[in-house]
């Protein structure tokens, strides 16, 4: 194989994704942010409109900046099982699994989804860069790790009419797909019934050269189904309602922490059920066994807070005097009609002790700061959940 010539220079701007031309036409506010070094839309025109399209119609979002790694080879299953806390052997070919992975001390490095593409082939999607970590986990094993972040571009099609859009685009084959199914629906086009919104939705992956045709196909098919582009702001609200964590926001990925004690176990993040101690050794198993026996030090919980002012960055108090934690994400939920938040509380608060919690909310109104102490109730279920998201075959809307 010829060695590719080293390029002479790099792009100094945020990099456009393969969909950028299409996004730019629709981004009336010209409102962009960086996502993994790529240009990503914050808002196209109105984040409220975009949010309601997620819950009411269909939306398209460019998720190409997600980190994507392919793990392929005879030892791929062993590598993945060494990496993550759940048992990948229980995930069949053609299925997608939500996963967390930990360091030796049982602290969460990142979370993401793992696509089982074949017996010995996986695609890992996550928020943080894992190339070196995957290589280290694969050291001595027989498998190839490739970074496909730029080799695959991706769109997320989310909302109650998402399936109708697929159907109108000639992809009605997706009808039989259950949540967390994935398949190559056409040569060069992979689809999965996954998403970050808690609504009916699909994610589609293709090579960058097919980006425009994929966008145009879905966009024109979606016209009669209310399709709308969405930016990060709307997505963030949808993911919070449905209870998805944002790494770096709701927990500190341990590899990126300078300070001791900032790492959290999957138990502390509310995902203890993912940890499978029966599958044999995996990274962090021994430490996680100890953590499980000792009990969590923290609880990442969902809070339902009285009033309507979002409790962003609020301290959480117990009985008015003792600070027991802080809010990590907060919003008014337009669909659940509740004032919702994720908060990290020191054990036993949020665990055995769930009463007497208050959020100290600072509200800025026209030159003045108001402080409000609002009752906060720990809730176990996601703030918003709907049956249409799980129904197979999906309804038209």
């Amino acid at each position: 194989m010829m060695k590719a010539q080293t390029p002479r220079s790099v792009t100094r701007t945020l990099a456009p994704t393969p969909f950028h031309d299409r996004l730019a036409e629709l981004n009336f506010l010209n409102s962009w942010r960086g996502w993994n070094g790529f240009l990503s839309a914050e808002v196209f025109e109105c984040s409220e409109k975009e949010y309601f399209a997620i819950r009411n119609q269909a939306t398209l979002m460019d998720i190409s900046p997600m980190c994507k790694y392919r793990i392929c080879g005879p030892d791929a299953t062993r590598i993945v099982n060494r990496l993550i806390v759940r048992d990948i052997r229980k995930v069949k070919v053609g299925r997608v699994a939500y996963a967390m992975w930990c360091d030796e001390e049982g602290m969460t490095i990142d979370d993401g989804t793992i696509f089982r593409l074949g017996e010995d082939e996986y695609l890992l999607l996550c928020a943080k860069h894992m190339y070196l970590w995957l290589h280290e986990c694969a050291w001595g094993f027989d498998a190839a790790i490739t970074d496909e972040t730029e080799a695959l571009c991706a769109l997320s099609l989310q909302g109650p009419t998402a399936f109708s859009v697929l159907k109108a685009a000639g992809l009605e084959g997706a009808a039989s797909m259950k949540p967390f199914d994935t398949r190559e629906i056409e040569p060069g086009l992979r689809i999965s019934r996954t998403g970050y919104t808690g609504d009916l939705g699909y994610e589609l992956f293709t090579a960058p050269e097919n980006a425009h045709s994929l966008w145009d196909r879905l966009w024109s098919a979606g016209r009669q189904w209310g399709i709308c582009p969405t930016g990060m702001e709307a997505l963030n609200l949808a993911r919070l309602e449905t209870g998805f964590l944002a790494p770096g926001v709701d927990f500190q990925p341990v590899h990126l922490a300078l300070r001791r004690g900032r790492g959290r176990t999957p138990f502390e993040l509310g995902f203890g059920r993912l940890v499978d101690f029966d599958k044999g050794h995996f990274n962090g198993r021994r430490a996680l066994l100890e953590h499980k026996a000792r009990g969590p030090r923290y609880h990442l919980v969902r809070l339902d807070i009285e009033g309507k002012e979002p409790a962003a960055n609020a301290y959480v108090y117990h009985n008015g005097s003792k600070v027991v934690g802080h809010v990590t994400s907060a919003a008014w939920s337009p669909t659940a009609k509740r004032n919702i938040a994720f908060a990290e509380l020191e054990a036993p608060y949020g665990g055995a002790v769930r009463d007497g919690l208050f959020a100290e909310i600072f509200i800025y109104k026209e030159g003045a700061w108001l402080k409000r102490n609002k009752k906060a109730k720990v809730v176990d279920e996601p703030f918003y959940r709907n049956a249409r998201a799980r129904q197979t075959p999906p309804n038209a809307f």
């Binding site: 002479r8 220079s9 070094g37 190339y131 590899h255």
Partner: protein, 548 residues
Amino acid sequence: MDKQDSYDAIVVGAGHNGLTAACYLAKAGLKTLIVEKNEQIGGAAVSTEMYKGWIYSNCSYVCSLLRQEIIRDLELPKFGLQVVPYRGRVTFSDKGEYLASYDDAHVKRREVGRISPIDVDAYDRYYQLVMRQCRFIRPFLLRRAPDPTSMKPRDVGELMFLIKRIYDIGPRDVGEMIRFWTMSIGDFLDEHFEHELVKASMAGSGIIGTGLGVYSPGTAYVLLHHYMGDVDGSMGAWGFARGAMGAVTKALGAAFESAGGVIKTGSGLSEFIIENEKVRGVALENGDEYRAPIVASNLDVKRTILKHIGREKLPPEYVRAVERFKIRGSSGKLNLALDKMPSFPLLPENGDYFTGDFSCNTSLETLERAYDDWKEGRWSAKPYFDMLIPSKIDPTLAPPGSHMMSLFIQYAPYDLNVNGVRSADNWNDETRKAFADAVFDRIEVCCPDIRQRVLHAEVRSPADIEREVGLTEGNIFQGELTFDQLLFNRPIPGYAQYSTPIDGLYIVGSSTHPGGGVMAAPGANAAREILRRNGKGDLMPALAEEEI
């Protein structure tokens, strides 16, 4: 002309540490005098117009370690100090490759990935590791080094602080810490990275100012020492003092004078006046004498003890330890007045973006070979340089359109070997020119037209730096920053708290904890110790800030 005056305290040497110590003594109400051998104050932090219209930072050339707490406490901005961060460094290889560093984390990742994809995440991880170690060390900079053999409450307190910091970084990073303090930078980089240029681009910080090679144990710490500074809280960032490095010492001098201090320049120290193991003042070369019960020496420990005090006045063990102190000359300087910006044909847009350091070192091996030359008493055939063009962002240094270029060069020996004879006297116009030629040859790797751009060049060997500034062997740190000479071993075990066997005589320069660089921490720490020993410790504010 014989003069006799009395002061509460005398500081010998107007380098940045002497000035800092003097500021704190004067602010505590002591009638304080600074004596300086050169006509201008500043020591190794000076700005000089050696060619009309071009200002050089003759010795120290960049600013990061200068403790923000001191800048703020002494109100140096009020006295004209402005530190401007610079960004973007580039390393060139002989193979025509380059590796740049960009501000934005993602652009930086792309750049490393351009030449070595596997090193991209490795860089992030390595940087985290270095930053954790820096966070560990930084709180010690403005504290007295503990004396592990003392049971005095303050020393026990300092040891407890050390233990608490060790607890805070956790068992894994304590292991890394011990490695960092003892390993070579070469071994360390080899553990993390694959691409030679990636490694070479980071290795320079491990050897700067040090008579060691990239594979010599101890050099990993030297790298930390270069990363633990900050500009406005951005750890590891470096900046220029607007108006060149003299701006730092000019501001310190002005702060000192506004606190009522007196500066006398133009005559060097002849000797410390000592009676019955107690210092009484100083005698200058011009015959002037000044009396004070406290004398603080900004000279390095070797010069202070071996050149200006009769040996009979000192314990032999102590003198022996001072003689043993490693303070070897390993670097030179080249300051250039350029008619216009030299070209950087290897760089995109001719390198317009880059305002940081340029260097040219292909691999760790080339750096190690450069060290081999030094061991034999020769300057490196392919010297390492750290090259900056501060006039790219500082408009005060050169006429518009033209530029001032500063190069720190390593390795160059103090006692140059010519025909088998090693002597500092071998440095003369001829050898200096040959040394500069070796450097120009290397600059041509990145700037082929450099020789055509030069209007004036100032070439300084270690021997020149010793003669002009006073630093023994021209060592920029007043003693190498290796673990055997740090913390409670700096400069001399048992004398790490700025004192000497002579009552009232203190050492306040970079020979003392926490060491070299334009940091001002030794001067401030020493002033506190002096005031404390004289019952005035509470007249100086605590400077060490909490590391959050």
